[in-house]
């Protein structure tokens, strides 16, 4: 403040002197041209012309529009000068032009400081709960029995995996190997890898094993009996099936993809080994392949393919659960489809299957619910149970998993930084029996995910952020 006062204090007299001198020069030189008017004005003001500048009148300065004390950084002066030079010497060779680095601190930043749980897996024998965090790009392990009191800021994780060495970023799927306790993590974007971490992995470590996966891979399910791994791929409307221990650029064992599959922006995936079924949740966005285009055939691994759809073939279909034979491949039709307004499906995410009870659990993101269907359901049918309501704490659930040993249902709530556990047979607005939190209670998550663009609504003065 002292410095600013002193600059202002010395600046005002200087400016006044310059203005006075300028006014004098103007009056002197303008005298001849404006003499008749000045003479009349001066006479009117009871002044006689004497060949010297005289004070004629004092008028207030007009009001300036907008802010009159706008802060301009010192760097602006340099850049404005450069701009004028550039404008006045357009013939200047491009080779001679230098970039002006204008690095500066932001004036505002919108950022959720807490993890957002996108997917969840539980391993009851070792009390492991693992969640993927799509906000801060972490894999977090908690104890299954953790229960965070409302006064606590967050639940302390047992370990955290995250950083630039981990090959993990936009994670949407997670699986725990029940024997080795390895954690399998699916990247949906930016890192086209399935990363596998040992139970000992912690911090910014490289994965113990990686498998190159197609861009847009979302969900994961493993058939332990057959040692097969199922991955949904959004960008190809496909399900890739790999060896469970596949690595590197290994090719899939088989691929389910094609215009008849009704795979439409597939997300969650589950395998019912008892009934020999493969179950997939779909958001309903779809484009169709040209059967004569070799590029439209998914080949997997480094060979790619599969992303070429016929231009103009896109459609919007309702959200759905599509059910196939477990060994379905190529352009195989579903055995049955759960779809329609009674289903309440609204951006269904991860799914889980209780083989013994014959039930499918759906993380129903925009209905803020877990919808439960019978494995035999088909068509436009209401869920047999719906866990939903303010007591449940379910908000934007994108992940769901089952602990069949302890008869518990676990939900990853992307909308409020929490993972919540319920008795397996719950229905309605039931309170969770335990809650794990990544942030303060009742603090909603921003759910900004991989923002690739930004807009500005000048009418409402709002920043528009699409995921």
């Amino acid at each position: 403040m002292t410095g600013r006062r002193s600059r202002i204090g010395t600046g005002i007299p200087t400016v006044a002197l310059v203005l006075a001198a300028a006014a004098g020069v103007w009056l002197l030189f303008a005298h001849n041209a404006k003499e008749p008017e000045l003479r009349v004005a001066s006479q009117h003001a009871l002044r006689a012309p004497n060949g010297q500048p005289q004070l004629v009148s004092i008028e207030p300065l007009p009001e300036m529009p907008g802010e009159t004390c706008e802060w301009i950084p010192a760097s602006a002066r340099v850049s404005l000068l450069q701009e004028r030079r550039a404008a006045s010497s357009s013939a200047e060779s491009s080779d001679e032009r230098r970039t002006l680095d204008m690095d500066r601190a932001p004036v505002r930043t919108i950022r959720d400081p807490n993890p957002s749980y996108s997917a969840i897996a539980v391993e009851p024998a070792s009390d492991m709960v693992v969640v993927t965090d799509e906000n801060l790009f972490q894999v977090l392990e908690y104890n299954r029995l953790d229960n965070t009191p409302p006064t606590a800021k967050m639940t302390e994780p047992k370990r955290v995996i995250g950083g630039t060495n981990t090959k993990t970023e936009m994670m949407c799927g997670v699986y725990i190997d029940p024997k080795t306790l390895d954690t399998y993590v699916v990247n949906n974007d930016t890192q086209d890898w399935l990363a596998i971490f040992s139970k000992q992995a912690k911090g910014n470590v490289a994965p113990d094993r990686v498998l190159a996966t197609p861009h847009g891979t979302f969900g994961i399910a493993v058939d332990e009996a057959k040692q097969e791994m199922y991955l949904t791929v959004q960008h190809q409307n496909a399900v890739y099936v790999y060896r469970k221990l596949a690595s590197g650029n290994e090719k899939p064992l088989r691929v389910l993809a094609g215009n008849d599959t009704q795979l439409e922006d597939p997300h969650g995936v589950a395998v019912d080994t008892k009934n020999n079924l493969l179950i997939v949740s779909n958001h309903g966005n779809v484009s169709y392949r040209d059967p004569n285009d070799p590029e439209s055939v998914p080949r997997g691994g480094a060979e790619g393919g599969g992303r070429s759809f016929r231009p103009g073939s896109g459609e919007f279909q309702p959200a759905s659960i599509t059910i196939y034979s477990r060994d379905a491949k190529e352009n195989q039709r579903p055995l049955r489809v759960i779809e329609g307004p009674k289903t309440r499906l609204n951006w269904p995410g991860q799914i889980a299957v209780d083989e013994e009870r014959g039930e499918i659990y759906v993380a129903n993101d925009m209905d803020h619910s877990i919808a439960v269907f019978k494995i035999s359901d088909s068509g436009d049918i209401a869920p047999t149970r719906l866990i939903r309501g303010p007591k449940s704490g379910i908000q934007n659930p994108t992940g769901v998993t089952l602990d069949l040993k302890n008869k518990e249902l676990w939900v990853a709530n992307m909308g409020n930084h929490s993972a919540t556990a319920y008795p397996l047979g719950s229905n309605g607005d039931v309170a969770p029996i335990r809650k794990i939190r990544g942030g303060p209670a009742e603090e909603p998550a921003l759910m900004i995910g991989n923002p690739g663009a930004v807009g500005y609504d000048s009418k409402r003065q709002e920043i528009l952020v699409p995921n």
Partner: protein, 274 residues
């Protein structure tokens, strides 16, 4: 991403401030991978793409919740293949879609299975991996951003076409090369009043915190391997890591950036360009 949405934050929001409104849900027909969003102040609408359903979605400016779009451009006549980004020209009532090897221009009022009014495509256009575009209605130009051809592959570029170009036409200017610093171009914002092209340059796609990421400002008169006139680099001072989105707020002399690695929106006071 696990959850698609469009969040609308107050201009002065910061930290973990919650959005004023959220557009999300089955009826919105949104998908993930919305790599562009444009607000049309003249008609109070905003526009996004749905690449999985090959559609352009136009919403009422104040859309909220599970609200459907006001109009959808989709269907075989559209020729839309993989619509990554877009722009709207309210002055000439047109929507511009980069479509990998072509630029499709639609009537702004188009709805349903509408054919494009004009298509820039062909070997002379140099359009390969054209994934972003912006229109300058004052100077009658379309600026196109090209993506990189695979990791360490052919770098991206900025191509400049006349706004009314149609068919197999050469771009009037190409900004590309090592001096340009362009690896790949993501969202582009224009300031036609001064002829500035403001483009995000997020670096290598697979690098989490890539070297050489920046927001660059070029002139519509630039051509060849020219560096940006100004740039804000991704570094500790700017707090940027991987800028992918950019929009300008001339009234407040601000540049607003979407940073993918930080999952954040960063606003800079940047009076030099206004």
């Amino acid at each position: 991403m696990a959850h698609p949405q469009i969040a609308a934050f107050a201009r002065l929001a910061k930290g973990g401030a919650t959005p004023n409104r959220l557009v999300a849900g089955q009826d919105t027909k949104l998908s993930r991978t919305m790599h562009d969003i444009r607000y049309d102040a003249a008609n109070d609408e905003f526009l996004v793409t749905n690449p999985f359903a090959q559609a352009i979605l136009i919403f009422a400016g104040g859309a909220d919740g599970n609200q459907p779009p006001a109009r959808i451009i989709q269907g075989p006549s559209t020729r839309i293949g993989d619509p990554d980004r877009l722009d709207v020209d309210p002055a000439h009532d047109e929507i511009i879609i980069p479509n990998e090897t072509a630029i499709l221009v639609f009537s702004r009022k188009a709805s349903g299975n509408a054919a494009p009014l004009r298509v820039i495509e062909g070997p002379d256009t140099m359009l390969r991996r054209a994934t972003s575009a912006a229109v300058d209605p004052v100077h009658n130009l379309i600026i196109v951003g090209l993506n990189q051809g695979g990791r360490r592959g052919t770098p991206g570029a900025l191509l400049i076409f006349n706004r009314t170009d149609n068919g197999n036409v050469k771009p009037r200017a190409v900004i590309r090369g090592p001096k340009s610093g362009i690896t790949r171009i993501n969202q582009i914002a224009l300031y036609p009043e001064k002829g500035w092209i403001v483009a995000t340059q997020p670096g290598e796609g697979a690098d989490m915190e890539p070297e050489g990421a920046f927001i660059g400002v070029w002139s519509i008169n630039d051509n060849g391997d020219v560096p940006p006139r100004w740039k804000i680099n991704a570094n500790a001072k700017s707090a940027m890591k991987k800028p992918r989105g950019v929009v300008l707020d001339p009234k407040n002399k601000e540049m607003i950036v979407a940073d993918m690695r930080l999952n954040s929106i960063i606003t800079y006071y940047f009076p030099e360009i206004f």
